[in-house]
């Protein structure tokens, strides 16, 4: 469903008044493939290129080289109209639920906005959009009574549920989850993770799950890739990777895990 082929992203060096800042190689020859219906985990430490990679997939940024194919189509070659249509199918939930909701918009406006933008594809009128927004709030466990509240009235976990409802609104098949629980309290993390698992089963979603939390990855993901300084160090089935790591980096990463996380089994 999603093929990432030899994608590199280099941020060019900049010549300024006080010398030249060196170029940064954020991604180097990254190749991944995400299969339909699975949860694919991407693990890496801060600054390893995880977020840069999501920006390439969302086409918020353009790779220096390489291709990204979604359902067999090269995203870079799409016309602007086709790209907008594709955006209905690839959605994202960001890490920080406090920053990713427009504080001036009500929950209703936030959740209906993707349906408004993609009304050409979805064909929903105003009333249908409102109804669907209420359904989506129900689906993420919030309830339609919150429809006309504003983001500042919600807790972090509730906001993340709003973000999930927004991501589901245009009916995506692939959802990027950029550390969706790392900004939340531990008790709320589990609730949101379970909600994500439930939604995946109900809606047949494909997840691209980014995290630095190996416990979460192990709990949620079918396959995993490890990224280190912009390069994929290892990828494979979650169980295999945890049981028999091949690269030194994976081994050192697993060794650094607290023992209880290593012991607690996946699903």
């Amino acid at each position: 469903m999603l093929e990432i082929e030899n994608v590199s992203r280099v941020f060019a060096e900049r010549k300024g008044m006080f010398g030249t800042s060196p170029g940064v190689r954020a991604l180097h020859e990254v190749s991944l493939s995400v299969r339909k219906g699975e949860s694919f985990g991407l693990v890496g430490e801060s600054g390893s290129g995880k977020t840069t990679l999501t920006r390439q997939i969302l086409r918020l940024d353009t790779p220096t080289s390489g291709r990204i194919l979604f359902e067999g189509e090269d995203m870079a070659r799409l016309s602007p109209a086709a790209l907008r249509a594709l955006r209905a199918k690839v959605q994202i939930v960001f890490q920080d639920p406090y920053a990713s909701l427009n504080p001036r918009m009500s929950v209703h406006d936030i959740v209906t906005e993707p349906m408004l933008i993609h009304r050409g594809i979805l064909g929903l009128n105003r009333q249908q959009r409102t109804d669907r927004a209420a359904e989506l709030l129900d689906l993420v466990g919030l309830g339609p009574q919150h429809l006309y509240r504003h983001p500042h009235e919600f807790s972090g976990g509730q906001r993340q549920r709003i973000c999930i409802a927004r991501a589901l609104a245009p009916g995506p098949s692939l959802v990027l989850l950029d550390e969706p629980t790392s900004a939340l309290d531990v008790s709320v993390q589990a609730q949101v993770l379970n909600l994500l698992i439930e939604l995946q089963q109900r809606l047949g979603l494909t997840y691209f799950f980014i995290s630095h939390d190996l416990g979460v990855i192990r709990y949620l993901c079918d396959r995993v890739a490890l990224i280190y300084r912009g390069e994929i160090k290892e990828q494979g089935e979650t169980q295999r990777l945890f049981d028999a790591p091949e690269s030194d980096y994976t081994r050192s990463l697993l060794a650094a895990m607290p023992p209880d996380v290593r012991r607690v089994a996946g699903r």
């Binding site: 969302l58 918020l60 907008r84 955006r87 209905a88 959605q91 994202i92 960001f94 920080d96 920053a99 990713s100 909701l101 427009n102 504080p103 001036r104 918009m105 009500s106 906005e113 993707p114 933008i117 993609h118 409102t130 109804d131 209420a134 359904e135 129900d138 339609p144 009574q145 919150h146 429809l147 006309y148 509240r149 504003h150 009235e153 973000c163 927004r166 245009p170």
Partner: protein
Amino acid sequence: MTDVPQDSRRSARAEASRRAFYRFRQSRLSMVGATMVAVVVFFTLFGNLLAPYPEHVRGGLNTAERFQAPSLAHPFGTNELGQDVLSLVMAGTPVSVAAGFAVVLIGTVLGVVVGALAGFNGGWIDDVLMRFSDLMLTIPSLILAMAVAAALGPGFVNMIIAIALSWWPGYARLVRGEVLQAREEVYVAAARAIGASPARVLFRHILPNIVSPIIVKMSLDMGFAILTVAALGFIGIGVRPPTPEWGTLLSIARNYMPDFWWTAVFPGMAMFLAVFGFNLLGDGLRDVLDPRARR
């Protein structure tokens, strides 16, 4: 199929504005400013109707009663033409306030357009627009206004255009800075990720979030705009007599100082109160709407 309760919409909005109003009321100076502005707005709307000697406002003279000191019949005295100064000051309010407001409004619209285009697009568009507004900033507004008056002739509308032309770069800079900041917000990236067009991102996600500093600057600027309008009247290229305008009144009264002080002091006081009121209101609004900018 799902019932959406309508009352939660009202309660949430009402609650937010109630809180903002409460914080505003906590500051005595803000309330004083709001009251003064309310008085100014009242006279802007009704000053012409309430003037005790409407014929003087229209240019009528009464030379028998020139330079009368303040009395019950003429609380602010009379001027060199025997006109009631109170009537002139009251009738002058709409002229000054409307001119000041028009200047700020035009300046804001131009500034928001230029600043938003520059900040949102970046690159060479940003460079060209901002260097141009820097250029406009270097031209003193009074000199520009004189040049416009010389080119187009003096008058109310030309004066407003002239001041507004030198007014917008301040807004352009403010808006550009705010847009640059808002553009990097995660919710803007989120909007682009769901496929929002650039126009939608700008109008729906960026501009609504930078309204507060703009409103604050507008209310702080109202006072200065009124002063600038008066200054142009004072040097004789703004509103022409017999239309009563505070700056013009002051300019004429200058010739009769200090013996007939009331002809100058009362228009001056009106100006002072209006400017002071708008400044206090602006400070109060800033504390409520834009707490970051508080010094």
